[in-house]
């Protein structure tokens, strides 16, 4: 980024912040016109922007802010009373300012926006309000600015002496003062990163062409299109001091305080924070892995001394990682007030437009949320609040008739609740009428009458989020197009958030948005289906239940179950993600009850693996947008686990044809091949000794079964998994290189589909504890060497249900 750009960027960041504040303050000022402090604050903000923009040659912006400032200045001196009409114009000019700033952000110049209309209106007010003054063309001369300079020179020194190293202005010549002022402006300009560059640049330019004071002020009001940059800079600094000084009377310390405050914070590029967040993500993954290894070690070397130490290190690492993660998350947090503070203005405009009286009460604006989330919730809130104003709050007459206060109240609250933040919007308007909503939807063909009959009130309220739905009889400027609430739903769900509506006819409506604190690292429930594992964001999981297959009913081709008083539709995760069914299901299944908004769905899974903190990773450009998958995460064992997109999954569940659990089972049974001859049975012999393998082969040759040999545990596992053979049993030696028999057995038993595969230990280890370990690792039989051929074959045939 080049230097000019950098300065410009800083200017824009600062200006957007200031304008945002301006909006808020002005609305407050309207209800509190006597608040001189507030007015001074507003003036200062307008002024800063004007000064900075002129420094950057943004003529249109400077021109506009200059005229606005004139009015504010008059108001400040009590020459003008700010009426709602005047406020309208001021607010209009602030909107223009925002537009200009946006243009500057996009094109680096402020050309192309016409401000003359607004400026004319500002002038009209200025002229009208300046009745006391003798000279009518007040605007033509920069009256308000120079005058204060002469009137209150003492105050200037007072206020300035409070700042760090101000020279003595009184003993300076005009030119020196000009220079000093220009320097001050430059400092303020470059408060952040570009401090040094800006200061040098200002220092260079100012002394070069010292403009005569008369020439400069003239240049500005005459709207000369592009005066020399210096001519522009000089008049403005004057005002910079003027504002500081005149504010000085009321609260001289204010400007000084402002200069100290910025040192408490640093502006950091969001990219850096994102990078930091990614690194933390990696660390969390490594931590999970470390914990897993620690657990494995504990199992293997129980009672060893070094374990204690390892344990300590692992706990410290995991503790610090967690703290670090929280700390970094906090750096990305912004107060939700950033979004809230545009609403007072919006409510003001809306209430004037709709002829309603609405009071907005904001609380909890200091509640913090991840930056990316703060950016996303702005739009939904706008729509909800517009809706509350338009459809919720009644016009004053109706309110009085209903015995309510004339002034309607909308309250906007934010607060933390566990791992979520709740944004609650209450209004005391007419409330939602469930029956009316249903009728509307039937009319528009969004739902059928049958659906409407079975709908609870909560479900009916959720209808307002359907695209194309609107209760407004006519489309107004404010709402009624039937898209807004759909936007709310989409955006909130994108954030893994939940919307909750409560309403009572005639009393009011409460909408709660429940949003996770951060997007990058979430709590998830890991579920297993066949050999696969999926992660479900815990925020969407309402509960899990274990049910018997008998409890699943089929209604109209859909699987359902009774959950307390509700009927819950069920879908098997395997049907959604096309999981191949290798293993037959047990008698019991687990149901994960998912809830998004008012919708619920029961997701059938084979196993519940547990709850884990996971780091969300994208699947990348190549695989993005796979329906039902929100991303992936890396687990402690280094494997990748896919994260379920609950919203999309609910959508998909509707389309999936239900497969009856019972028929599924018989299908998978049928998949097991009929055994027609002894050679249809396949048995694996796992032994590192060739002689032992020979002995076993001989012993089993009489049975006529097919035999496959493996030389160690690793080899056996590979041969088992590659699926060339369907093994009916395995004979396993215990002492083997690479992977021993116990480990092999427990590895095999990790797979659902091998749960029923008989594993037979054939070993010379005869100790009781060896046998115990064999049983623990999943062996069904324990044959000690030496053994007779008959004994071996009888044990094998018993275990494979040999029929020949």
């Amino acid at each position: 980024m080049d230097e000019f750009e950098e300065i410009l960027q800083d200017f824009l960041v600062e200006s957007f912040e200031l304008v945002e504040k301006l909006d808020e303050d002005l609305v407050e000022l309207e209800s509190n016109p006597e608040d001189l402090e507030l007015l001074n604050g507003i003036f200062r903000v307008a002024h800063t922007i004007k000064g900075a923009s002129s420094f950057l040659n943004m003529d249109v912006l400077t021109h506009l802010t200059h005229h606005m400032e004139n009015i504010l200045n008059k108001a400040r001196h009590g020459e003008l009373v700010i009426t709602p009409e005047i406020m309208d114009v001021i607010l209009e000019s602030i909107d223009l300012m925002k537009e200009l700033l946006e243009t500057i952000r996009d094109t680096s110049s402020d050309a192309g926006i016409d401000v003359s209309g607004c400026v004319a209106r500002l002038d009209a007010i200025d002229n009208g309000g300046s009745g006391t003054e003798v000279e009518t063309p007040a605007v033509k001369e920069p009256e308000p600015e120079p005058e204060p300079v002469k009137e209150e020179p003492k105050e200037e020194t007072e206020s300035s002496s409070e700042s760090d190293d101000e020279p003595d202005y009184e003993n300076m010549s005009d030119d020196e003062v000009e220079k000093e002022i220009a320097k001050l402006l430059a400092q303020r300009q470059a408060e952040d990163k570009a401090k040094r560059e800006a200061r040098i640049a200002a220092g260079e330019d100012v002394p070069a062409p010292p403009p005569s004071p008369d020439e400069a002020p003239k240049a500005e009001p005459k709207k000369e299109s592009t005066p020399a940059p210096v001519a522009k800079t000089t008049p403005t600094p004057k005002k910079a001091t003027a504002s500081a000084k005149s504010a000085g009377g009321a609260k001289a310390a204010a400007p000084a305080k402002k200069q100290v405050a910025p040192e408490q914070t640093i502006r950091v590029d969001v990219k850096r924070l994102d990078h930091l967040m990614n690194l933390i993500g990696e660390l969390v993954l490594a931590k999970n892995r470390l914990i897993k290894i620690n657990d494995d070690m504990e199992d293997r070397y129980e009672g060893e001394e070094f374990l204690e130490e390892l344990n300590q290190v692992v706990s410290i690492v995991s503790l610090v990682t967690t703290d670090l993660q929280i700390a970094v998350m906090k750096t990305r947090m912004l107060p939700v007030g950033k979004v809230f503070n545009k609403f007072p203005r919006m409510i003001r405009d809306l209430s004037r437009e709709l002829n309603k009286k609405i009071d907005l009460q904001i609380s909890g604006e200091e509640t913090e949320l991840d930056k990316s989330i703060v950016e996303e919730i702005g739009d939904p809130l706008v729509h909800i609040i517009r809706n509350s104003c338009d459809h919720g709050i009644e016009v004053p007459d109706v309110r009085i008739a209903a015995g309510k206060p004339e002034m309607g109240t909308i309250s906007l609250k934010a607060y933390n609740e566990g791992n979520q933040i709740v944004i609650q919007i209450d209004d005391d308007g007419k409330g939602l009428d469930a029956n009316m909503l249903k009728d509307r939807c039937i009319e528009k063909g969004l739902i059928t009458e049958k659906e409407a009959d079975t709908m609870s009130d909560k479900d009916a309220f959720a209808l307002i989020f359907k695209p194309g739905f609107s209760t407004a009889a006519a489309v107004t400027n404010v709402s009624g197009r039937g898209v807004g609430m759909d936007v709310v739903k989409t955006n909130i769900e994108k954030l893994n958030g939940i919307i909750d509506i409560e309403s009572e006819v005639g009393v009011g409506t409460t909408i709660k948005l429940k949003i996770p604190l951060t997007l990058a690292i979430i709590q998830a429930l890991l579920v297993g289906v066949q050999e696969e594992t999926y992660a479900i964001p815990l925020a969407s999981v309402m509960e899990t239940v274990r049910i018997s297959i008998d409890e699943i009913y089929t209604v109209e081709g859909k699987n359902v179950m009774r959950l307390r008083d509700d009927v819950l539709s069920l879908v098997h995760i395997g049907d959604i993600f096309e999981v191949e069914r290798i293993m037959e299901g047990g008698e019991y299944v687990y149901v994960v009850v998912l809830g998004v908004g008012a919708q619920k769905l029961g997701l059938l899974v084979d196993t519940l693996v547990g709850q884990e903190e996971i780091v969300i990773k994208s699947l990348g450009e190549y695989l993005k947008g796979i329906e039902g998958i929100a991303g992936a995460t890396i687990r402690g064992d280094g494997g990748v686990t896919l994260i379920v997109d609950v919203v999309a999954l609910m959508e998909m569940a509707r389309k999936v044809k239900a497969t009856s659990m019972i028929s599924e089972n018989s299908d998978s049974l049928g998949a097991k091949k009929e055994k027609n001859s002894p050679s249809d049975y396949t048995i694996m012999i796992v032994d590192d000794s060739k002689t032992d393998r020979m002995i076993m082969t001989k012993a089993l040759s009489e049975l006529g079964v097919s035999l496959v040999e493996a030389v160690d545990g690793q080899d056996a596992l590979t041969k088992l998994k590659d699926g060339t053979h369907n093994f009916d049993a395995m004979l396993i030696d215990i002492e083997m290189p690479r992977m021993d028999g116990y480990t092999l057995a427990s590895e095999i038993k990790k797979y659902n589909k091998y749960k029923n595969l008989p594993l037979i230990a054939v070993t010379s280890r005869t100790g009781k504890s060896d046998r115990m370990r064999g049983v623990e690792s999943g062996m069904v039989e324990y044959i000690t060497k030496p053994y007779s051929a008959d004994y071996l074959s009888s044990v094998v045939s018993r275990n494979i249900n040999f029929k020949f």
């Binding site: 260079e204 940059p229 999981v579 699947l619 190549y622 695989l623 280094g638 494997g639 896919l642």
Partner: protein, 165 residues
């Protein structure tokens, strides 16, 4: 003063451009590999790394040639079986099987190949265009390299990394 700044910056930018255009190269470096019976190659600079096969996670709702995703040092990378993509039958992985991770800008994916051959240095003039019948916007073939007795099909990495489902 903003004008001055701009001037300086423009000057610097111009200098940088000159530096970039300074060198050109006639030798193309490729890495060759076998899929089925054919030898293919991709530019060496597009290869992020070559690794031995390990476990991956299946991803639903994708064509058969997309095997899933795997973890490469903390990144989740798609895995594509080039045998299947080129219309050959799937083959069991053996000790020669490798995953080649290729990168083009932000696009990245791992490809399963039967075996590696070698790094190839080939003169640009020895690379012919793809056969006429295969020329088109959709072709995955960048050109055909001739070297001694061999013919090597050079693949377009950006096309390989393009999602076509």
């Amino acid at each position: 003063m903003s004008d001055k700044l701009k001037q300086v910056i423009e000057k610097q930018a111009a200098q940088q451009d000159e530096e970039l255009n300074d060198h050109s190269d006639d030798i193309v470096q490729l890495v060759g590999f076998i899929i089925g019976e054919e030898e293919y190659a991709v530019p060496i600079l597009s290869i992020q790394e070559i690794i031995k096969p390990f476990t991956w996670t299946r991803v639903p709702q994708v064509p058969a040639y997309v095997k899933g995703v795997f973890n490469m040092r903390g990144s989740v990378i798609p895995l594509i079986d080039l045998r299947l993509k080129f219309g050959l039958r799937e083959q069991k992985h053996d000790e020669n099987t490798r995953f080649i991770v290729m990168k083009n800008g932000d696009d990245i994916a791992g490809f399963i190949i039967d075996r590696l051959t070698m790094a190839i240095r080939i003169k640009r003039e020895n690379i012919g265009p793809a056969p006429d019948t295969l020329i088109g916007d959709d072709t995955m073939i960048e050109g055909v390299g001739k070297q001694e007795d061999r013919i090597i099909t050079i693949l377009k990495v950006n096309k390989l990394l393009e999602r076509d489902f």
